[in-house]
Symmetry: C2
Subunit: 560 residues, 2 copies
């Protein structure tokens, strides 16, 4: 492909509203444009990357026996009503009415429709297992679309669904997917790992996420280098650092106007880990008191798994329910439901004294308060692994895929059943599995860039190689360029040739910005010696080789 025939609108300046590196570079290099909040147009270069990623995904899905289908974006409400998600999902779902006034929605995911299809077509255990997948458009009305193509309201997703006779059979398909996902990310050149995750709105018992480490990520994972334990911090278990070594008797301490852990910690000259933090929350079934250690953060999602949806109490509610103003509350003598973090089981603490401007030293679980015990704190760097006791490492990551064991959550309400070998009707056991190719592209850029632009992994670069004839008016330059272009193209490589009548500096700058991994530079000076230059985008190392050896040198370099 010749640059002059291609629509590559590069930008000199950093776009004002772009946040992440991938967002900035995809705009600057002319890969994408934003149509509206969370809605992106893929320009020719961006779309080439997506197609290369999708090809890898297809190959790996086909290799595990998955079969590609294609389902509509537009869904009738009835099927979503049958599983309850029509009501359970809020503003994230785009809803509309058709001309007949019927409720419809835009597919956020396809568990409902896939299960509906299985309910119509699967009859017998002989029809199972099945894996059906599609690479198709999803729509989710994100509250805060951001970071370019990382979090959009419309996106392409490879979603697959497995249908099995039993949990054991599901385990096989689940593992096949986990392995296929590993191969996909490896082939796409990403650094990544698989972690335990929260099934969230998908439901089901077990799920894992695939995460690409990057500061641009919206998630955090906790990883134990000792035993390999890794999980999204949304559910990562951890043992905080050791408890304080003191053994105080209970004692009221005057702490005038000192309300927060930080204020009291400074005032009493004790580290935050010596404190017990009490937080009052309001649920549909009444108030709940949550207790965490002073150096820990309460994890809303972990707590939500215990008490359901909740909100923080307002000041006036704290006073009304606990009889003391916020800042001085403690669990002692409180009659409401109390959830305490595991880290508070042992040791003695300073807590609010349930008396204005006083705190109480020497508070001890079991003796001074009763509670239900759960891990409700946010796992953080330096916490200890609950499995092996070694230090946890917390890393920011981009979610690039997820896999769910759904069990019969969808097959039961949609009556997707089969007759087993004994002729008995049983619900199909399902899994669902998602990969976002746009996130793979963005993660690849986040993990591979420098001050000059992107650096694509070979496998998903929009082109394999870029040829830069520096002076297109020099016939010898163009003859060499055309020869190498033809030779590479004939060998099946995708080649971009910058045939624009531009200064060498502009071509170098754009080539680095575009990030094609190898540049073949054809300059008049080298050419006089019969040489061209082959340059690696990543290291900027260049070798000079004979014109007629350019292609074989390029190929030899690729295979390294």
């Amino acid at each position: 492909m010749r640059f002059s025939n291609m629509f590559i609108p590069t930008l000199r300046d950093v776009p004002a509203d772009a946040e992440s590196v991938s967002h900035i570079l995809m705009l600057r290099a002319g890969y994408v444009r934003q149509l509206a909040s969370g809605l992106y147009i893929y320009l020719p270069l961006g779309w080439r990357v997506m197609n290369r990623i999708n090809k890898i995904i297809r190959e790996e899905m086909d290799a595990i026996g998955a079969q590609e289908v294609s389902m509509p974006v537009l869904h009738p409400a009835e099927i979503w009503q049958q599983t309850g998600r029509w009501d359970a999902i809020g503003d994230e779902m785009f809803r509309l009415k058709d001309r007949g006034g019927r409720d419809m929605c835009l597919g956020m995911t396809h568990e409902e429709i896939m299960t509906w299809l299985a309910s119509k077509e699967i009859r017998s255990y002989r029809d199972l297992p099945q894996i059906w997948y599609q690479i198709q458009t999803k729509l989710r009305d994100e509250a805060r679309p951001k970071s370019g193509i990382l979090r959009t309201r419309e996106f392409i997703m490879k979603d697959s669904y497995s249908f099995d006779v039993s949990e054991e059979a599901l385990e096989t398909n689940y593992q096949l997917h986990a392995d296929a996902y590993h191969r996909i990310y490896e082939r796409c050149g990403l650094r990544f790992f698989m972690v335990e995750s929260d099934p969230g709105m998908m439901g089901g018992a077990v799920s894992h996420e695939f995460m690409a480490p990057s500061p641009a990520g919206e998630d955090e994972v906790a990883i134990c280098k000792g035993c390999g334990y890794s999980a999204n911090v949304e559910l990562a278990l951890s043992a905080p650092s050791k408890n304080n070594p003191v053994d105080w008797q209970t004692e009221e301490v005057h702490t005038p106007e000192k309300r927060t852990v930080q204020e009291v910690s400074n005032f009493l000259k004790l580290p935050p880990s010596y404190f017990l933090k009490s937080i009052l929350l309001i649920t549909d079934s009444g108030p709940v008191l949550a207790l965490v250690r002073g150096d820990q953060e309460l994890h809303e999602k972990k707590l939500a798994r215990v008490i359901g949806s909740h909100r923080p109490a307002q000041k006036v509610e704290v006073k009304g329910i606990l009889g003391v103003e916020a800042g001085f509350i403690g669990p002692m003598g409180q009659k409401i439901r109390t959830i305490a973090d595991e880290s508070l089981r042992d040791g003695v603490y300073v807590s609010g004294a349930n008396k204005p401007h006083y705190h109480m030293k020497g508070i001890r679980a079991g003796r001074d308060f009763q509670a239900e015990w759960h891990d409700i704190h946010v796992a953080k760097e330096g916490d200890f692994c609950v499995k092996c006791g070694q230090s946890l490492h917390v890393e920011r990551v981009i979610e690039i895929g997820n896999i769910f064991k759904l069990g019969t959550k969808y097959s039961m309400p949609l009556k997707a059943v089969f007759l087993d070998e004994s002729g008995q009707e049983r619900p199909i056991v399902m899994g669902s599995y998602g990969i976002g190719p746009a996130r793979i592209a963005a993660a690849a850029i986040e993990q591979n860039n420098d001050k000059d632009g992107m650096i694509w992994p070979d496998s998903i670069s929009p082109f394999d190689v870029e040829i830069l004839p520096l002076n297109i008016k020099d016939p010898k330059t163009m003859q060499a360029a055309d020869t190498i272009y033809k030779d590479l193209t004939d060998k099946g490589f995708e080649v971009l040739m910058d045939d624009r009548d531009e200064r060498a500096g502009v071509k170098f700058k754009d080539a680095d910005l575009l990030g094609i991994p190898i540049q073949i530079i054809i300059g008049e000076k080298n050419l006089k010696e019969g040489l061209i230059e082959i340059k690696k985008r990543r290291t900027k190392e260049a070798v000079r080789v004979k014109v007629e050896e350019a292609v074989e040198t390029y190929i030899a370099g690729r295979n390294k």
Copy 2:
């Protein structure tokens, strides 16, 4: 691919609600399933066909220098408001609000978004020409979805858009598309032709449709075998058969209770072509009288191009406006706007006499009534070509593509401009071009089927060849099947092998239903002589060849 690993849910019975042959066969052969009215799921076989068609489309689009991009399904209303189509398009457009209450719509087509992109990115004549295309999902809330995948509410479309400096340059891109479309349909094995068409909601001055002859079509085209003139009957010009040869004096005739042309024609024993039919219509700017010859039908769309949108007058309106009851009206002495069909210019006619239960013989244009003259009749079989005078043939067709010269209809309101060589700002001149791959698939089936099932053209068949080992329990059969399968697959062919443990009859029936063009049949009896059978699906001709010659015989047959 092995049949046993593939999801091909064939049906024995003809589905009750399927209308067209393609609809019935795609359901029966397990190619598609209907999710809801006008919403279809492509199963693995159907999706393979779509991918093969899309590959051909991509190759031909790339060959004319078109560049593939991808745009969202979801559009902000503002851009559609700027071109006026937000208001001009009715219930066909799916509309919704996002969580912020902003008006959005689902893309029926992408003129607005493509032009918006051009307005942001095109600066200079040096940036032109451009052709951008996508193969992407469109949504239209059809009033009456029907015929399976022929008229659906959600469908995939290849839509391309050309951007040029002038009408002359547009002509080049328009012709490039017309040629590419010819190649696409030829490669897909369709019988088709290109006809003049009505631009409809796209606007613009010139447009053509590509039509595949089929009784399942919803359109009709008029074709002149003399000069090659061809057009959608929506705008086809035609000269009806010769006028009546009589030359009556005006004379009132009593026609008691005879109102319709048919009734009066029977009563007076004169053919319908001797009559003048007057039809009263109501428009926003008042009543209009339309006149056509008694043997012709008024063409609503042709008339709409003259008088705009309109509706038939009710009986009470006819009486009120014309002073006489419906059935006896004539154009004589009427003071309202009158549009007459060209066929009435000459000759004398029988018309309503504007007097209850009377008609008037001897009515003549110019003398007895004045009118604006237009072609407002439906062209029909046996009419004469207005260009060369030969007979017109009218054929039912499936619309499989269309191309539009848009001019500056979209670039003006969206301010998509460029600076020309003299530095002057000018609007970009545009074209738009659509192909529906699903319609190609359906048309291919409509044109190629027999009582046993589909017969795919080689190029778009889900598989190139199907191998039928008749007894999978016979090791020699399976050995031959596996050898041929491997050999064909290694040579790059897509092969389906029916490895199911089914009776030969079931395999034959399903193979014919699925319509893969070549069947390689491996039976024990032939195998004893070292032979297999190669059978053409279309003709059912079979040849017996040696096992080791199967592949070369297949390849040789393909190239014929």
